[in-house]
Point group: C2
Chain length 159, copies 2
């Protein structure tokens, strides 16, 4: 079943008040989408972040991501900076999946890592605290976020 059909069915369930939460088939679809994504994009000028993301993707048996060198500062002028950064990348390249990391909301709201599909639909995400709160190195924070984002949709490390 395609995602369009999954969304159509879920919308009909919500309208008729018969929806009881995510189904195994829906989660399986997201897992398979990630596993079969060939072109994965990370909009970031930071090679450290890309390397960490790629290390985790490899551990989960997923394709290596490519860096997209675009200026995403404007995303921070938006109410949803991390998601806006992902959408900016989506609008500037062809790809199957975008993994974007940025601010969650207002200044001080910490970071979010979000994964969107080729139409900009949110597949998974994870939040972590600001550096001021967690005091972790950026690579540890990014690693924690992407692992959480993958594990929460039922994916597991294969190595």
């Amino acid at each position: 079943m395609k995602l369009e059909k999954i969304i159509k069915n879920a919308c009909e369930e919500s309208i008729s008040e018969s929806r009881t939460g995510d189904t195994e088939d829906e989660i399986k679809f997201i897992q398979n989408y990630l596993k079969s994504a060939r072109k994965i994009i990370v909009p970031s000028k930071n090679a450290v972040k890309l390397n960490i993301i790629n290390r985790v993707l490899k551990e989960f048996g997923l394709q290596k991501a490519e860096q997209l060198h675009i200026n995403t500062n404007a995303a921070d002028l938006n109410r949803l900076p991390a998601l806006s950064k992902a959408i900016m990348a989506l609008d500037q390249c062809e790809c199957d999946l975008i993994i974007s990391r940025g601010r969650l909301g207002v200044p001080g709201s910490g970071s979010m890592l979000v994964m969107i599909d080729k139409k900009g639909r949110i597949l998974t995400a994870a939040t972590s605290p600001s550096h001021v709160v967690h005091k972790k190195e950026v690579k540890d924070a990014v690693s924690g976020e992407i692992v959480h984002a993958l594990e929460r949709i039922g994916l597991k490390r294969i190595k």
Copy 2:
């Protein structure tokens, strides 16, 4: 400093490429906003969720939340169901803070708990897996999300 001024400053830093991440003052503002919020709203018909949220709010020394009985099914027809549910509540009542829990993105993408201020700006959020993945009871899942959402902006349990 008001949030409008904080956002204005952060925007100017982003535009001039001088922004280096969240500052202590920005995080402190969010902490104080939550601590001083008098009217906190939870748009949900589920009393179990409200009770868990209130237990955690009390542990963190925050004001008790009130339930807003509105039909939020339409939020699931949107790309950002949890945030849309919060905005629906914002548009239908006067309050300082809204704590909303709903689906993160597409069907299967698990849940997100999000806190927005009286203008709809995102202060903090946390994601957790779908029930199908975590198998936790809803009260444990909600409890984990709200604790994470509060701790990631540096708030601590006071009892």
